[in-house]
Symmetry: C2
Subunit: 336 residues, 2 copies
């Protein structure tokens, strides 16, 4: 199916449709985990509402990225598969691409920032991919990846610009809506971590169709609120490139073009959380859900727990998007 | 339904039947989490087999105990509910009973060892239960609980001697078998943590009916291998009461009478793991599954990862039974 061909949502032609998300769900079914929706009665009491956590650290590779990556790579033809794929990623998408490529027998090169967590670099290599490091603050990762792809005749993966990847990430929104319906719940709000914006764009497409009254908010770290500012101004804004954040998975310069075109139409708004909000959410996930959440994966939970979103008398689902955190950093956060 | 009334398994009259496990599954459906079965391709490669983890730390209260507790307490009549319930537990069953009692509006007193992890004591109180501490090495917890129950006319909960509780825990075996069937897998082996033996007894009843060719093994910590020795001798053996273990959830003096009568008939055998095996499994769960497993909850995973069970060319499911561990202990384990 050509992405966008059957779209019922009025976004630019290249955007995936709800049908593409359904198609992605069928495509990844045999390899991806259908993650549950978890609740903590203690947190519900504290918030005065009902908080539902979508634990995507339980996904294959420890983050949601496998969904879009497998959906994308499984559609390459035999010639393209032999030539391989080149992707750039701070780590979680790298692992998703590497794991999907390994299943499908496709050679993969991943361009990763040299300061990406060691665990993400090691895991990416463990899935059989070749890792090429670059300087996050001085080099252009897209140009470097394009150059490698050109040299090899390989497919360049562009993550949050790719409608097939966005459709794959959207299966999370589909699962949230389906499980909420099983529980007899009408969701007031869904909060989703936002870097380039592909995850939330896919989720928003699924949620707009399945539960159109639900408000979808992006959540970003302080200093990387490019989507929040872009939604306000109506055009893609850039981050200053100098701010540091604990949320390594979300540190992009600007929203993806395709992702933002979807998000500008479908999102209710964006929320911003601090590193301290994120650390508190990681500790809460330990105590109340027994889950390892990485900093970038915890921003949506952080928005709910810190009161950036008022959850009183509401049904709020939050995506915890990954759990690939170095153990020493995790312990530092846990020890406070 | 009277437990045992329709039993197809020839065990003593009071044992729950497979029909009781099915009935328990219906009873707890609206309150318990149906936990997934998780896999790590990296661990599968390392073991040369297929390892499926049942993550019961994702269950309400952070351990499997809620299943049996809710199944039990929801069947009390109105008079009994008003008089309340008294239970004794090192912590996870305490939280299960307290949480189920809170949902049902039943007063609960929990007799806990004074050296139970602070987090388990605090959580039990947070569910609204009254906590009475005792000295694990000098006092008889059953006698103390019986005395309190007598004073109040309350129901005394006896956990692994109670067929309705055992049937509730057995829903884990049911879910494992159902999910394995969905995946098209025939399970060679299921490994289950074993303290008093109620969890594994319930699971064995469900597995015997659903997948009769599957071998079910108990896993115990060194020094608390009472079920292993009891299976060998054919009668309930005692632990020396002096050995220490990191596995606080599994430190019982001897197998439960009812649980052992079931286990003696249905188990293939028992495996024993060291504290070091357990710590390695907790670290592996962090890296490969992003899950917090408490020491006692990790023994079955430890048996698979340490080679106590050879997983080569086998489909092996392991129950990770809980995740209620003090954060400082968890970090000590993670830091090695």
């Amino acid at each position: 199916m050509a992405p966008g061909a059957t779209s019922s949502i009025d976004v630019q032609p290249a955007a995936p449709s709800f049908a593409d998300v359904l198609d992605a769900a069928r495509c990844i079914r045999d390899h991806a985990v259908v993650t549950p929706l978890l609740e903590s009665p203690a947190l519900n009491t504290r918030l005065g509402g009902r908080l539902l956590v979508k634990p995507e650290m339980l996904q294959r590779t420890g983050a949601f990225k496998f969904r879009g990556a497998y959906n994308r790579l499984s559609r390459l033809d035999q010639t393209a598969r032999k030539r391989g794929v080149v992707a750039f990623s701070s780590g979680n998408h790298a692992q998703g691409i590497a794991a999907a490529a390994q299943i499908l027998g496709i050679p993969a090169v991943i361009v990763m920032p040299a300061d990406a967590p060691a665990i993400k670099q090691a895991n990416t290599r463990a899935y059989g991919a070749e890792v090429r490091l670059y300087d996050r603050y001085r080099e252009d990762r897209e140009a470097l990846a394009q150059q490698i792809a050109n040299e090899r005749g390989a497919t360049l993966d562009r993550s949050y610009e790719d409608p097939i990847i966005i459709a794959g990430q959207g299966t999370i929104g589909l699962e949230i809506a389906d499980r909420a319906a099983e529980l007899g719940l009408i969701l007031d709000t869904v909060l989703v971590p936002c870097g380039g914006g592909g995850l939330i764009a896919g989720c928003a497409i699924a949620l707009a169709e399945k539960t159109p009254t639900t408000d979808v908010y992006a959540v970003e770290p302080v200093g990387f609120d490019d989507t929040a500012r872009s939604l306000a101004s109506g055009q893609r804004e850039h981050n200053d490139g100098e701010t540091k954040s604990i949320c390594d998975a979300l540190l992009v310069p600007t929203p993806g073009e395709l992702a933002f075109s979807i998000n500008a139409r479908l999102l209710k708004g964006a929320l911003v959380v601090s590193d301290d909000d994120v650390k508190a959410a990681m500790v809460a996930a330990f105590h109340h859900f027994k889950l390892i959440v990485e900093p970038g994966g915890a921003v949506a939970l952080a928005a709910a727990l810190s009161g950036k979103l008022d959850c009183r008398d509401k049904n709020v689902a939050v995506v915890c998007s990954g759990g690939n955190v170095d153990p020493m950093l995790f312990c530092d956060v846990l020890r406070g």
